[in-house]
Amino acid sequence: MTQNKLLVKLENAGVYKSPKWLVRGISFEINQGQIVTLIGPNGSGKTTTAKMILNIMNADEGMVSGNANKMAYVPQKINIDWTMPLRVIDFMKITSSLTNTQITESLTMTGVDKLLYNQIHSLSGGEFQRVLIARAIAKKPDLLVLDEPVQGVDYNGEIALYNLIKKISVTLNCGILLISHDMHFVMSTTDHVICLNGHICCSGTPSSVVKNPEYIKLFGEHNSETLSYYQHHHDHSHDNDGSVSH
């Protein structure tokens, strides 16, 4: 196997915000073509870690180095003020100049190309998540950071979104950092899982992490069962009947 390009590397990195360390001693790396998942309870420092990688926050100790040319971000919460008239096409272009073909291509990939001229405020939760992802991938980043991309999306939508993320990783051959607070579908598509709770509790392949005592202590027994349930579940194909209905 050829060595893929190293996109970002954290060495013992930490962020201090008075009066405590938000995260500390974080070391891992993300390579091209790899999906790395950060899991952990609320307040465990997942978003902080992502923000260090994206240079939104500076590491107060340790090192964050990387040679990703283009990073793209799908933030956890994004509230577009209703005082701003904004169509999907305008939103797509906010950080980079894109041609209409590029915009249509990536909206088609996430399945929302029909919404091109719709107002952002009129989109449903699931549509908005897909537009957010389309915007992030439109400029073909080599590192994509997705912070809880399936929140506010129903069960079927969640499966579809994770399949989409896998597809993006293959098509763009980019590195992906995925953040999630639950284990439900994350595991099967992920190459490397990092379990976070202010520090790295454990990390490794999904099947090794889920057996780790630290992980079980943090998430409880039933979540390891969720994984086995999911692996079973994934042996079957899904159809989209009845999906995205509220």
Partner: protein, 267 residues
């Protein structure tokens, strides 16, 4: 053609409206109307100092408003006060200091009403030059940072993550706001500048479906407010600043009517 005070006022007012259009949209989108108020209240202090040291009013206002803006940015990171309390504190204390200083400068005759609400007669050829030259610079810088400031307005984290340097553009935008107050204080007055920033942009909001449209429409509404406002100020012998703002308000109310009709048709 600059001989006529009314022509001068028209040219100056239109220059101001072109600059307040795009900046006003950003003020609305970023919910900075109270911030604008604070800067313009502090402008009165700038005017007083300009008289006291016989320096150019716009320059002095720009320095004072700019300082207050930067003070605010740094205080926000340090104090436990909420943003709006901090704004109120600075707005009213700078306004009060300005008024107290006016009391000390008893040797100079002040037209206080003119300072607070604008004076149509006060516009000189030099003012026109300051407004159009200053406005041109403000718009030029705004155009240059537009992509970054717009991305930061939509979402700060997103802009920061994707290399748009939102902190730099936020900082520059704050100074531009101080700049627009500096060039328009004489014409519109310290208490009403925020109105010219907000109301045309608010009128444009209900009529536009994308950001570019909103910017263009708020410029147009601003220009219309200035022209109609100044003519009615001449006709009814009312103060220029308030007349312009009342016209803008009338246009805002008008802008709401077709909006509702469109909505009804869409449904």
């Amino acid at each position: 053609m600059f001989d006529d005070f009314f022509t001068r006022a028209l040219i100056a007012g239109m220059g101001i409206a072109i600059v307040t259009g795009p900046l006003g949209c950003l003020v609305i989108w970023r919910r900075l109307s109270f911030f604008g108020d604070t800067l313009s209240h502090s402008a009165l202090l700038g005017v007083t100092l300009a008289y006291a040291f016989s320096i150019n009013i716009s320059l002095s206002v720009f320095i004072i408003s700019g300082t207050v803006a930067l003070l605010l940015l740094s205080l926000q990171k340090r104090t436990k006060l909420a943003g709006d309390s901090l704004l109120g504190l600075l707005a009213h204390s700078t306004l009060a200091i300005g008024l107290v200083l006016i009391g000390f400068l008893s040797s100079i005759r002040f037209d206080l009403m003119g300072l607070l609400f604008g004076d149509i007669l006060a516009v000189t050829v030099e003012d026109i030059f300051i407004i159009w030259f200053g406005g041109f610079i403000i718009l030029g810088i705004l155009f240059y940072i537009w992509k970054s400031i717009f991305a930061a307005t939509v979402n700060y984290d997103l802009a920061a993550a994707e290399g748009m340097k939102p902190d730099v553009s936020n900082f520059i935008f704050t100074l531009l706001l101080a700049g627009v107050i500096a060039i328009s204080i004489k014409m519109i007055g310290a208490l009403l500048i925020t109105g010219l920033l907000l109301i045309p942009a608010a009128s444009a909001r209900s009529l536009s479906s994308n950001p570019f449209q909103m910017v263009m429409l708020s410029i147009l509404v601003g220009i219309a407010s200035v022209i109609i406002g100044l003519f009615s100020s001449l006709e009814f012998n009312t103060a220029s600043g308030p007349s312009i703002i009342v016209t803008a308000l009338a246009l805002f109310i008008l802008s709401l009517i077709p909006f509702k009709r469109n909505r009804a048709l869409q449904k």
